[in-house]
């Protein structure tokens, strides 16, 4: 018998399935957990694998064809008589496809890593339920084309993540970190909801594409814009609103820290989507025309929104990088140190995107794309590329920190030492993560950071110098970790430490392999994955046109 698989049908439904399958899995997990822990573990891995399969299928289709897929829940057309009917829809373009690839890698790795890492704790049914719910929220945020839906998924991610950060309820600091995360993300999300309500009140629409085509940048739109940017920047951990990040990342179980990286980047994605797509038409709007009479020479220039916004983003990014790096250097807790490094990495992405925003020269009336010079385009590519690299690098380092914790039950850098002899593979993975996060040549971090350095140097040399200096500090801080955790004489307390189980090593190996592959062949990744994502970002008219199909 021959079975014909209708790939087009599967592709058509995969945006919904990517969210629906983990959701179904999440609610089935407590029931299946009654059969036995092994069956449940297998089930969760299966769910993660099936979800990733659909993700890669969908991303492959969108990235190769450059198409946009919309999925209207409940069926029907999004437009009735040329007016948008209120429908919840997912719209997946190049950038979304790029983001869900990151999400899929992180979810898969987190699930595989958790199998052994969390084995000795109780309440694992709830742990896996929440883990799958968190991935639902993450994927939803990365794919939705509806502003209110974005808020809902943001809250789903926050609630699940907060419960997971506080999973080790026997530790007071974990619970407090979970509460802090909840307070911060709820307040951020409420202001985002307020902004959405303001937009709805004016344009009677919630769909991103419809809003993008109708926003006039009136005073109320300005307020909504500020609320959205501030809320999403806080969720993305931009300094000085980054303080929840070290707490949450540092206290969560390692497999949750890596998922939190994904959730943070989903917020960053939403920030970019809001600036580039939702306010895309107004990004080059002239805010003020200034005429100065300076020593007889009259100087005329326009203040445009993208100039102001770009400088704001760059300022925040530089603060983020510096605070992250400087604070990380003095940390004595392994995971907290990585968390501050993650803050700094967030700054790199925002720096590149901010630099790109300043270079936007206008909107091409024919194609509807933004006119961006070569260096701006490169900055955009570098920033987008760095999202992928940051997720992998920081994720790998968190997994290594988790492995060290699993083997020694210790995260303090003052007490650890000499583990390289006992944990050979973990040490190798740490080396890979160290080089990658510091942007050393054969690893992936180098490729994207070089693009950021080059482009920001062309835009403003000082930015590049700050970025390079802080990269050196990143290297320095991880050399410190290398020295105090892995090198040095064997500490008597840790003489009997054994290498972590194979599934944990396997999870780390997956990320390490991807890191090395991207590091050796960045061109392949940039051409096939990053460029379509970048195009999707600056060619925002396609996104608006996507719902008309």
């Amino acid at each position: 018998m021959s079975m014909v698989i209708d790939w087009e049908l599967i592709l058509q439904h995969s945006p919904a399935l990517i969210v629906a399958i983990p959701l179904l899995g999440a609610f089935l997990t407590p029931l299946i957990g009654r059969i036995g822990p092994k069956v449940r573990n297998g089930f969760v891995v299966l769910i993660a694998l099936v979800t990733s399969f659909f993700v890669f299928l969908l991303s492959n289709d969108i990235l190769t064809n450059g198409s946009i897929r919309t999925y209207v829940f409940g069926g029907g057309k999004p437009l009735i008589n040329n007016r948008f009917a209120i429908r919840i829809l997912f719209e997946v373009d190049g950038l979304n496809a790029f983001m869900i690839i990151i999400g899929a890698i992180l979810v898969l790795v987190a699930v595989i890593y958790s199998l052994k890492y969390m084995k000795e704790y109780t309440g694992l049914d709830k742990f896996y339920t929440l883990l799958l719910l968190m991935s639902v929220g993450m994927f939803g945020m990365m794919m939705t084309g509806d502003m209110f839906n974005l808020f809902v998924f943001l809250e789903i991610t926050s609630i699940a993540a907060s419960a997971l950060i506080a999973f080790w309820t026997s530790k007071g600091k974990s619970v407090y970190a979970g509460l802090k995360y909840m307070v911060i993300s709820t307040i951020g999300a409420l202001f985002i909801l307020f902004a959405i309500a303001i937009l709805y009140s004016q344009y009677n629409a919630l769909n991103m594409a419809v809003l993008a085509s109708s926003i006039q940048y009136s005073f109320l739109d300005k307020i909504a814009f500020v609320l959205l940017i501030a809320g999403l920047a806080m969720k993305a951990g931009i300094a000085p609103m980054h303080m929840w990040m070290p707490d949450a990342y540092g206290r969560a179980p390692a497999s949750i820290s890596i998922l939190l990286v994904g959730a943070t980047q989903a917020s960053l994605y939403a920030l970019f989507r809001v600036t580039f797509t939702l306010y895309g038409n107004n990004l080059t709007a002239i805010l003020k025309h200034i005429e100065l009479d300076l020593l007889g020479n009259s100087i005329e220039f326009d203040i445009t929104l993208n100039g102001v916004l770009g400088i704001l983003f760059i300022a925040l990014a530089v603060i983020t990088i510096i605070i992250g790096v400087i604070m990380a250097l003095k940390q004595t807790d392994f995971k907290r140190l990585i968390a501050f490094a993650a803050v700094a990495e967030m700054g790199y992405m925002l720096l590149a995107i901010g630099a790109a925003i300043t270079t936007i020269g206008g909107i091409d009336p024919e194609t509807g794309a933004m006119i961006i010079p070569a260096q701006g385009l490169m900055a955009l590519k570098g920033g987008i590329f760095h999202i992928l690299n940051d997720a992998l690098d920081i994720g790998l380092l968190f997994l290594v920190a988790g492995a060290v914790y699993y083997a020694t039950k210790e995260t303090s850098l003052n007490k650890l030492g000499g583990l390289a002899r006992n944990m050979k593979y973990t040490t190798v993975f740490f080396f890979i993560g160290l080089f990658a996060v510091a942007g050393m040549p054969p690893m992936n971090g180098f490729a994207s950071k070089l693009m950021i350095y080059e482009s920001t140097y062309l835009i403003n040399p000082i930015l590049a110098i700050v970025a390079i200096l802080c990269s050196i500090l990143l290297l320095a801080m991880f050399i410190k970790v290398l020295h105090s955790v892995f090198l040095g004489p064997k500490i008597p307390k840790f003489k009997g430490v054994k290498e972590v189980p194979k599934t944990m090593l396997f999870a780390m190996a997956i990320i390490a392999c991807i890191i090395i592959f991207i590091g050796l062949f960045p061109n392949i990744v940039v051409e096939n994955i990053v460029t379509p994502a970048t195009e999707a970002l600056h060619n925002f008219s396609n996104y608006i046109g996507g719902i008309l199909i």
Binding site: F148, S158, I159, S162, G172, V175, Y176, L193
Partner: protein
């Protein structure tokens, strides 16, 4: 003018909520502040949907000729309330755990992560 009063209430609720979250040192009061902000936002959403002399938006009674309030902001508010309940429950249960560990709800006395 009378129709602007809800908007004033919205801003007042959000500001009172923010004040409570920022300046009160008790964790329960911080949670109360968050619910105040939430009520403000929900009130805003509901106010947006109101039309003068409107009736409840029920499908079968739409032939009576009178104006209906917008149902979508109401649906949004409901979703927001549901999420708010989940957030509230989670935060309170976390606070129960915190109280067990530290014996206090004063944020200045709880030793979490500093620096």
């Amino acid at each position: 003018m009378i129709y602007n009063i809800p908007y004033v209430a919205v801003v007042a609720l959000i500001l009172i909520g923010l004040y409570t979250v920022v300046f009160k040192r008790n964790l329960i009061k911080i949670v109360i502040g968050i619910t105040l902000i939430e009520s403000g936002v929900n009130l805003f959403l509901i106010t947006l949907g109101y039309r003068e002399n409107s009736i409840a938006p029920i499908h079968t009674s739409s032939s009576q000729g009178s104006i209906m309030s917008l149902p979508i902001p109401q649906a949004l508010t409901l979703t927001s309330i549901v999420i708010g309940v989940a957030v509230l429950a989670l935060m309170l249960s976390l606070i129960v755990h915190i109280y067990r560990h530290y014996g206090t709800l004063n944020v200045t006395k709880i030793r979490g992560d500093e620096e």
